[in-house]
């Protein structure tokens, strides 16, 4: 499997009043044309990892790494202008809640067409046709009407499919999905995931799927990184997640209710300070 992205020793730091806070501490992993899950609680640094790859951490936050290579090019050595060509066109990101991630005063059509035209010299009419096609690809009915609509007129599930359409329209190689279904109604989560999965597969893209939902990730991904306190504590194949060995992963699994093994009382996760001290496990292949 060819390697798309290679991250080595990634740190994300934020200066605070009480010294520097390390949100991500020396994380390494690679991504091929696969679905890589990153799981962890809030504050474990999983979202920061995704944003650091796109260099979206704003000052005073700092990103340091030995390298973040996209097909051999180190993103950290790029100028801001070169980085803009990477964003959208080569690596894209879908965020948690379409209510906030779509611009409320622009029509959906304008926002999708803008994403397309930023990286191509396409005329407006070409961009329009392309956008309608893309909306159809994410199963939006009556896409012409949706093109004219504003985000607040959309339901959450529709909004997220629009977001996916917008992020995939420049045909990137890697999609980072940061909790893409957490804000959605349970009934539409699966549908949005299926659409995303189908498109990623069709296009042979790499997917980084960030989530706090262990079951979802184990169902959906090929490989899983488990993060705790800014470090990767365990890496495993998704279908073997239930054989995970790290006490943190085990604790997380045991604190979930299971229909096939009902229990009177769920376990409460007992944290061991040693977990956050232990060096990061490498997720590189």
């Amino acid at each position: 499997m060819s390697t798309l992205l290679d991250v080595e020793n990634l740190w994300v730091k934020f200066p605070t009043r009480n010294g520097v806070f390390d949100a991500v501490r020396g994380v390494s992993f690679t991504l091929g044309r696969e679905r890589l899950g990153i799981v962890g609680e809030s504050g474990s640094g999983k979202s920061m990892t995704g944003r650091a790859i796109l260099r979206l951490i704003r000052a005073p936050g700092m990103v340091e790494a030995d390298h973040i290579s996209l097909e051999g090019q180190d993103l950290l050595k790029m100028s801001e202008k070169e980085m803009r060509d990477v964003r959208g066109q080569r690596i894209s990101m879908v965020m948690q809640d379409p209510k906030f991630s779509l611009n409320p005063v622009m029509t959906i059509g304008d926002q999708i067409m803008e994403a397309y035209r930023l990286h191509t010299n396409a005329s407006k009419s070409v961009a329009y046709t392309k956008s309608v096609e893309m909306l159809e690809a994410v199963s939006i009915r009556d896409p012409e009407r949706v093109m004219r609509a504003y985000p607040h007129e959309m339901s959450g599930g529709m909004g997220q499919r629009i977001m996916i359409a917008m992020m995939l329209i420049p045909n990137p190689e890697i999609l980072i999905a940061d909790e893409p279904t957490s804000a959605l109604d349970v009934s539409v989560q699966r549908q949005v995931l299926d659409i995303m999965d189908r498109l990623v597969k069709e296009r042979g893209m790499g997917l980084i799927f960030i989530s706090h939902d262990l079951n979802l990730v184990s169902d959906f991904c090929d490989r899983v990184l488990i993060m705790y306190a800014g470090r990767i504590v365990e890496v495993c194949e998704a279908d073997k997640l239930h054989e995970a060995k790290h006490p943190y992963t085990r604790g997380l699994l045991n604190s979930l209710p299971r229909l096939d093994k009902p229990r009177d009382r769920l376990e409460v996760l007992q944290r061991d300070p040693a977990w956050s001290e232990a060096p990061s496990v490498s997720g590189r292949i």
Binding site: R51, L54, L56, E80, R84, D85, V86, R87, G88, Q89, S92, M93, M95, Q96, D97, F100, S101, L102, N103, P104, V105, M106, E114, A115, L118, H119, S139, I140, R141, D142, R145, V146, A149, Y150, H152, E153, M154, S155, G157, M158, M163, M166, M167, P170, S187, V188, Q191
Partner: protein, 357 residues
């Protein structure tokens, strides 16, 4: 599932036109209703002020030496023997016909006086708001985008000083420095003494009238007179506009859709102006309308410092000579403009923000 999902977004299934027009019309009507009430209240307050004024309107007409019969006759003629509510309706009736009574100072209808002095104020305040917007908005945006940088600090100091300085004092200092010491600008008044009444009055705004008359000399002179008071007034609106712009922008720049725009690969310039700024436009119009109204108020003191023959000078002069009709007429007109500006920004908000529908 997806059918359900879509029909949710499509709820108002009318033809597009009626779908967008009717609610707009309804808001317009509702706004007009509330305007009427506010206006009535405004007139009531000025009416009450007029009644409790320690000036006897009859005496000021008939004079100190009039006989009791004359006094009573005028008292009756003015309707002062009627109940207060009836008197209020008389007052309403007059105001609706733009009749504010006659000025005691020059025995002319107050409405004529106001029509004469108002363009001067309009000219001053309009130029002031142009300064405020042209400098204040970019300054506020920059301060928000570069939060904590030196430009943010400068913007902060500029605003703080603007909020803390008495406008009449700043005007005096401006006159002292730029007119008295440096001699860069014309002094008090709208034009120099040699240029008075040269161009025909069309709009009442000398800058416009001189251009209509293609009299460049008068234009230059008028400009050298207006530039100082207008930029001082502009400075006050700049302080407010830049602060508000900054806080609106800060709110937008931390929104998630900004990250979306960056993920798309947009330049920071486009992220700021095409995405963030687009979201504050409507709020900004409200702020600009409010500070424009504020300038009308600020012009009261500025006009006195600069001997500017506008409505502010008119009201204060009338006040000092106890010319009640003129004071109340001026107050009503300024209040009316205030209300109109408020409604204007309100309506814009309701019409142009897609979420307000």
């Amino acid at each position: 599932m997806s059918v359900n999902d879509i029909s949710k977004g499509r709820r108002p299934k009318r033809a597009p036109l009626s779908h967008s027009l009717w609610p707009t019309l309804k808001t317009v009507l509702r706004t007009l209703g509330s305007v009427a009430v506010t206006l009535l209240g405004l007139l009531f307050i000025t009416f009450i002020i007029g009644r409790v004024m320690p000036i006897d309107p009859v005496l000021s007409i008939v004079g100190e030496r009039a006989s009791q019969e004359t006094y009573d006759a005028v008292y009756h003629q003015l309707g002062l023997d009627k109940p207060l509510l009836v008197q209020f309706f008389y007052y309403l009736w007059d105001v609706l016909h733009l009749d504010f009574g006659t000025s005691l100072l020059n025995a002319r209808p107050v409405s004529e006086d106001i029509a004469r002095v108002f363009p001067a104020t309009l000219e001053l305040a309009s130029l002031g708001i142009v300064f405020g917007v042209v400098i204040g908005v970019p300054l506020g945006v920059l301060a928000a985008v570069r939060k904590g940088s030196w430009i943010d600090q400068i913007a902060r100091v500029v605003a703080l000083v603007g909020y803390s300085m008495p406008i009449f004092w700043l005007g005096l200092m401006g006159l002292l420095i730029f007119y008295g010491i440096l001699g860069w600008v014309g002094g008090p008044g709208r034009v120099g003494i040699f240029y008075v009444d040269i161009v025909p009055t069309v709009t009442g705004m000398i800058l416009v009238d001189s251009l209509l008359d293609s009299n460049i000399d008068v234009f230059k002179d008028a400009f050298s007179h207006i530039i100082l008071p207008a930029s001082l007034l502009g400075y006050y609106s700049l302080a407010y506009i830049s602060r508000m712009t900054r806080s609106f922008m800060l709110e937008q720049m931390s929104a998630e859709y900004i990250t979306t725009a960056r993920v798309k690969g947009m330049s920071e310039w486009d992220v700021i102006w095409k995405h963030a700024f687009k979201n504050i436009r409507v709020q900004l119009i409200t702020v600009i309308a409010l500070s424009y109204a504020g300038l009308l108020e600020g012009s009261v003191l500025t006009e006195i410092i600069f001997s500017w023959p506008g409505i502010g000078s008119y009201i204060t002069t009338a006040l000092l000579s106890a010319d009640m009709n003129a004071v109340l007429g001026g107050t009503v007109v300024v209040g009316l403009i205030f209300i109109l500006l408020n409604i204007f920004s309100d309506l814009l908000y309701k019409i142009f923000d897609p979420r307000a529908k």
